[in-house]
């Protein structure tokens, strides 16, 4: 699951001209560490929903990679 999430994160990063990451850490903050602004976070939710059928912001907020993983594991 982490690999697929990494791929999605890198798509969003590359789309805004940021470098590809080689791995994700659960503690990483989506805004501060991954460099996502509100438009990027919205794009991330749509791409994750497309892949997993889950809206990660539907029931409260996701700040970190581990928040996303927890929602996808439900």
């Amino acid at each position: 699951m982490l690999d697929k999430l990494l791929e999605i994160v890198n798509t969003v990063r590359n789309n805004k001209g940021l470098a590809t990451l080689s791995d994700l850490k659960p503690s990483q903050d989506l805004r501060n560490d991954l460099g996502f602004d509100s438009l990027d976070l919205a794009e991330l939710t749509v791409r994750i929903e497309k892949e997993y059928g889950i809206d990660i912001f539907a029931d409260g907020f996701a700040l970190t990679v581990s928040d996303i993983l927890a929602k996808l594991a439900k």
């Binding site: 789309n15 805004r31 602004d37 509100s38 438009l39 919205a42 794009e43 791409r47 539907a58 700040l63």
Partner: protein, 409 residues
Amino acid sequence: MPDKIFLHDYKSGKRYTYRQLLEDLNAVSDLERYCYKQDLYAIFLAIIAANLYQIDLVLLDADFSYEELQKLRIDATKLCEKEHVNASFINTIDELVGRLTGNQDWELTLFTSGTTGIPKSVTHTFKSLTRAVRISSRHADDVWGFAYNPTHIAGLQVFYQALLNGNTLINLFSAARHTVLDFITSFQITNISATPTFYRLLFPLTELYPSVKRLTSGGEKFDGALSEKLLDFFPNAKLRNIYASTEAGTMLEGVGDIFVLNDENCYRIVENELYVHRSLLGKGDTTSLEDDEWYPTGDLVELIQEDPKKFRFLQRKNEMINVGGYKVNPLEVEENICIHHAVKQAYVYGKPNILLGNIIIADIVSDAGITEKELRDFLQSRLQPYKIPRIMNFVSFIELTRSGKLKRT
């Protein structure tokens, strides 16, 4: 008193006092007719100086591309044109406020994404811009969180509300969540005016923010659940919901999502659409006025009480997509995508999104094997970032209506 902070800007890392502002104003000699700047203080200084010396000013978004400027019919060679003024000495904030408010007819022009795909200019006077500003000793100690684009109408309203009361402005626009939360506490911010999207992105909240007295929401559809959640963490804040537009400035103030129509000379509802009387509008394109008197806002409302008339907003009549408070015209985006030689056809639409209200999606027909990244890079030189589709689907065909138009649902 002049040592009071005028602006703290996290972006430049600088803090400006009113003394500094007065010194800079007293030193001006040549004023630009166009404001096309990044730095927030430079933008504010340009507006104040133009207002002070009655030089009409055109306000441009710093991220307008060359193509967008051309569409606005702005001659790039004129961007640097200046007009000479003889600065007069201003000693106090009161003197500055008196001089600014004395120039009621001074004109400021800004742009709005027109509903037909061609952006249009709207020219406001000082009077129409500051119609909703309240100057009073009750506001003397307000500290404003500045959370809007400074070159858009909402940002200008907050700017003038703060400046004309001699208040401190703390820049929060595009700031990281933790920066916003730190600043609310460290600067004891009392007033914030922002979009629902801005407030949504502050969550999850864990601490209380008792310094805030007023939270104003506008630019997007009111979010009742969000408002309730906000009050849990801003225990001393009153919430208000503002209806405003670039054409008319601030118009109505709602309680929750309910607005009262108290002046039938200024507003009327015809076939569920809100109309505004021309006396409230800035100068601009008047072709859309009905009977030369009434401007259709394009906002559909639901009447919930007859006397006095009470209503709530339902949706836009036209196709503008609201992305976190920014209005995006899908026709403008489609037109720019189709300029790329590898694109045969494009259909741009909004998909509801819990964070931003809507996210821009494009369906694209191309037989030349273009990638999403290539198309995005192409659009980056042509469109402001919030207009660029975040998801691009490459499809084999796009359904058309019988009249040959794109089918919009």
